[in-house]
Structures are given as structure tokens and as C-alpha cells.
């Protein structure tokens, strides 16, 4: 029974709690039970706030009994990537360097989820400093709930695991170049990168200031919309944040009829795209066509260069933030993180500026396509989750470095470089049973249409209904 409860959506749980059909204590206990059974192997959590969550659940139960105004997440347990500050709860950024760091204040997004009635269940594992390429995780190797020998995607690894395996009702991650969408794709969850400038970054350890975007990972599109509606909008601290143009939930059930959908040729048919991934995305496009959307191919010739351009820009920003620590405590970083940051620190300025100009060109190409289409469609990743062992092999040439670090990132980084919203949701499974992620890319500040298209697809298929084969 508790497992059935744990797999309910956050929106459902909020409704059940509000109606008095389940208690917040029962819900928190359901997730703690699953964490106890499965997280020893999966390593989604860095910190579980067990007693605090139970205390808050009892308080939420009492508040419901007293009547009065309840927030939209009242009594619903959520968990956040350990990149977000949490008052009184250590925030490690997945690094030994921050192993003892305990902030005094909540990040804005955490404060908003708590103010909405949500209960913080814990802090979720990630690649070191949300950079990707970690070789040895100080808080345990995150493992894919569909196959523990496989990668989870990063950097919001624990957020993807916890959403897919129902170790929380909903989670938050942060997406710079795909860090929400990649784990959503490989773990079989819904992951939303909002428009850059919609969700405050205050209290979030930065990766790259110009592209960081906090966003939800959930088991349903409705939950992604719900969480976005809570975390979006100016906070008076992050100067780049604008109000949402509309309620992201406003068009959720309007269906796909009347939408125009562009299928990105270079990513669906790219040399790196596995045939069963490309076929799944083509199948999703046909599903949307069957629902009344106008579907056509669109060519974005610059997109294959996006991975290298992104890494030059994002990693340069990251290297600037980390340089003082790299110079004095470099040996305390994971080797993969350290090598990535130092390579970016040495990049000639002229080439970094050229990358900045290429970003403008890629952005123009994406925005131009979005003038013609409401939504663009692409695979979130060229393959399903690869084996963990492959990511640890030494780099022996510049060609190998380019293949490993640039190519895969060209799938998620066009949206990051353009500053537009993008969402990943399951669109099928490989023959070996691994989830395949469908990426939808939308117009700036038009999350409502992006979520509408995703919800229409989700409602027409059962891809999101499968559960990972966990035993415990």
C-alpha cells in the first residue's frame, strides 16, 4: 500500500492530504521506507532529513485538522539537489570541499516550496559542483534504477533517481547544459529546464551564471507545471528574473490540436543518435500529429557544434568561480572535475569570445525556428543510459575528448545557449528495457505551451507509467 502511495503524483498527494484521505505522516513514512529499502544501492540521497520531515509532517497534519488556508504542496515531501542551500541542513555540492558546509538560509526555490506547504525530505546526490564528469563520488556512486550498472545522467543525478524510483513525491534540480533533462531522460522521469530568467538562482551554487536554471524533476507533466508555478518569478535578489508570462498550468489540458511541431533533423538523424532512439522520437512526432499537431522537419545546421561551444562558455565561467580554490586546494577536487576546470581555465580568450559569437548564432537559429514552430522535438540524448564503467576510462587523445565531452552535449545545450525552456519526458524503452527521453523545446517564457504539448503526448501514451524494476 505504501508503495502505491509513493508513486502517486505530488498533485494527487496534495489533493488526498487536503481531503483528509491520507495523512502527511503516512506519506513521509512511505518515502522513508522506500529510501531505507532502495537508496543503499541507488545512492540518490546525500542527506535524509528523517526526524525533521516527520516533525513537519505531524505539524502539517495538525494544521489540516485546524482548517484554514493550506498551500498547494501542503504535506507533500520533496527533495532537492544538494546544490541548493538549505537552512540548517548541510549543502555539499557533491564535493568533499563543502562536506561540512551548512547554510543559514534556504535558497529561494527551497523557501518557496516550503512556503507552499512542502516538506523537505532530503538533499540529493550530484556530480561534483554540478559539473559532470565526476570519477569518484564522495557521497556514493548514483545508480540507474532501471539497471544499476548504468549511468543516471547528470548533474542532477539523485533528483532523476528519486523522481523515477519514487524516493520523493517530486524533486528539484538545476540545468545548465542539460543537468535536469539528462537524468530525466536516462532515469525515465519528467525534467523541465525553465526559460533562463524565470526561476531565481539565489542560494544555488553557480555552474555558469549565464545559463543556470533551477527546474523540477517529477513523475508527471502536471507535477512539473505545479512545481514551476511555485518556484517561478522575481525574488528581489536575483536581478535577472522576470515574472512568468502566464500560469504554466493554464493550458495543460488543451491538447495538441493546433500546435506546430518542428522535428530537429540534425539531432533525430544525427550520426551519434542510436536508431532506436531516433525511431522513438519519430514515433512521438507521429503521436502528436495524430493528436492534431502540424508536424514537419526543421534543419538547424549549427546545432552539432553546440556541445563544444557550450563547454567553452560554461566551463570558462565555472573555472573563474573555482580558480581561487583550484589554486589552493586543487587536490581536494575529484580528478574529473579538476581536469575539466583546468582545461577551461587555460582556454585562449580569443577562442572563448569566438564561442560567445557562435552562441549568438546558435541562439538566432533556435529562435528563428521557434518563430515558425510552437515546439521543437529532438532526442534528449543520443543513446539510452550507458554503462558507468565507460565514463571512467582514461582519455588518450583530443579526438576521444571531443567525442566524450562535446558530442552528447550537442543534444541538450542548444536550448541552454538560446535561453529557452526545454523538457524531457519518457517516449519509449530500448530493447534492453532502458528509458528513452523525448526533448521538447519551447519559446522563451512560454512554458505553458511547452507543458501543454508534453501533457498531450503523456496522456496519449503509457511511457511514463512503467516503474523501475527495484527489489528490496
Amino acid at each position: 500500500m505504501s508503495d502505491e502511495l509513493a508513486f502517486r503524483s505530488a498533485a494527487d498527494l496534495a489533493r488526498l492530504i487536503r481531503a483528509g484521505e491520507v495523512s502527511p505522516v503516512e506519506v513521509v513514512q512511505a518515502y522513508l521506507s522506500r529510501i531505507d529499502r532502495f537508496d543503499g544501492a541507488l545512492r540518490a540521497y546525500v542527506t535524509v532529513c528523517r526526524e525533521r520531515a516527520l516533525d513537519e509532517a505531524r505539524a502539517a497534519e495538525a494544521a489540516r485538522g485546524r482548517g484554514g488556508q493550506l498551500g498547494p504542496l501542503h504535506g507533500v515531501p520533496f527533495a532537492v539537489k544538494d546544490q541548493f542551500d538549505t537552512a540548517g541542513v548541510r549543502t555539499t555540492s557533491g564535493s568533499r570541499l563543502h562536506a561540512l558546509r551548512t547554510p543559514a538560509h534556504d535558497a529561494t526555490v527551497v523557501a518557496r516550496l516550503r512556503a507552499a506547504g512542502g516538506i523537505l525530505l532530503g538533499k540529493l546526490n550530484l556530480t561534483e559542483f554540478a559539473l559532470g564528469g565526476t570519477l569518484t563520488y564522495p557521497f556514493g556512486q548514483p545508480r540507474n534504477p532501471w539497471d544499476p550498472t548504468r549511468e543516471t545522467g547528470g548533474s542532477s543525478s539523485g533528483s532523476g533517481i528519486a523522481a523515477a524510483a519514487a524516493l520523493a513525491a517530486a524533486t528539484l534540480g538545476e540545468d545548465t547544459g542539460g543537468s535536469v533533462r539528462s537524468p530525466a531522460s536516462w532515469c525515465g522521469a519528467v525534467g523541465l529546464r525553465p526559460t533562463w530568467g524565470l526561476v531565481p538562482r539565489s542560494g544555488c551554487i553557480p555552474v555558469a551564471w549565464s545559463m543556470d536554471a533551477p527546474g523540477p524533476l517529477t513523475r508527471s507533466v502536471e507535477d512539473a507545471a505545479l512545481l514551476l508555478s511555485i518556484i517561478a518569478g522575481p525574488d528581489g535578489r536575483d536581478p535577472w528574473i522576470r515574472p512568468a508570462a502566464s500560469d504554466p498550468r493554464g493550458d495543460l489540458e488543451r491538447g495538441a490540436r493546433g500546435l506546430s511541431v518542428g522535428v530537429v533533423h540534425e539531432l533525430v538523424a544525427g550520426a551519434d543518435t542510436e536508431p532506436e532512439v531516433g525511431a522513438a522520437v519519430r514515433g512521438a512526432a507521429e503521436t502528436l500529429r495524430g493528436l492534431g499537431a502540424a508536424v514537419a522537419d526543421v534543419s538547424l545546421p549549427l546545432v552539432p557544434r553546440a556541445g563544444a561551444v557550450f563547454m567553452a562558455l560554461a566551463d570558462s565561467e565555472a573555472a573563474a568561480w573555482h580558480h581561487p580554490t583550484l589554486a589552493t586546494r586543487g587536490d581536494e577536487y575529484d580528478a574529473g572535475t579538476r581536469r575539466r576546470l583546468i582545461a577551461a581555465a587555460l582556454l585562449p580568450t580569443t577562442l572563448a569570445q569566438q564561442a560567445g559569437r557562435a552562441r549568438a548564432a546558435i541562439r538566432a537559429e533556435v529562435l528563428d525556428a521557434l518563430e515558425r514552430f510552437n515546439v521543437l522535438l529532438a532526442p534528449t540524448a543520443p543513446t539510452a543510459a550507458p554503462p558507468i564503467a565507460g565514463a571512467r576510462a582514461p582519455i588518450r587523445s583530443r579526438g576521444e575528448a571531443a567525442r566524450r565531452f562535446f558530442n552528447r552535449r550537442s543534444y541538450t545545450t542548444p536550448a541552454s545557449l538560446a535561453g529557452v525552456p526545454a523538457l524531457s519526458l519518457p517516449c519509449g524503452f530500448t530493447a534492453s528495457g532502458l528509458p528513452i527521453g523525448l526533448q521538447l523545446i519551447g519559446r522563451r517564457f512560454d512554458e505553458a505551451t511547452l507543458l501543454r504539448a508534453a501533457r498531450a503526448y503523456e496522456r496519449a501514451t503509457d511511457c511514463g507509467g512503467r516503474r523501475p524494476p527495484l527489489h528490496g
Binding site: 561551444v309 567553452a312 583546468i342 564561442a355 549568438a360 548564432a361 571531443a402
Partner: protein, 61 residues
């Protein structure tokens, strides 16, 4: 384009106060050479009108 040698990469790192040796040096050299090759390739694009602003300009409409 010629690849940077490990010695050249080591010297660049030292110039900004970063210690680089052993496996780190070998891998950073490969990563940096991959960057240089990929970004030098941008010279084939028409970027005459592209200014390197990190965000899109305001919509004039």
C-alpha cells in the same frame, strides 16, 4: 592545427597558479587540444553579425 604539448600546457597552467602534473597533465592537454580544434573550426562560420552577448537582446516589438 598543431597540438599543444604537455610541456606547453604545464607552463600555461603555472602562469595562472595551477599545479598540473601526471595523469592530470596528460588529460588536460587532450581536453585543451580538443577545445582548440573545435573552436578554431568556428572560423568557417559567418559570424560577422554575431556579437557575443550571453543573453538574447530585448524583443523590439
Amino acid at each position: 592545427m598543431a597540438e599543444l604539448s604537455a610541456a606547453e600546457v604545464h607552463a600555461q597552467a603555472a602562469a595562472i597558479g595551477l599545479l598540473l602534473e601526471g595523469e592530470d597533465l596528460a588529460e588536460v592537454a587532450h581536453r585543451l587540444n580538443a577545445f582548440v580544434e573545435a573552436l578554431a573550426g568556428l572560423a568557417t562560420l559567418d559570424l560577422a553579425a554575431a556579437e557575443p552577448w550571453p543573453t538574447a537582446p530585448p524583443d523590439p516589438r
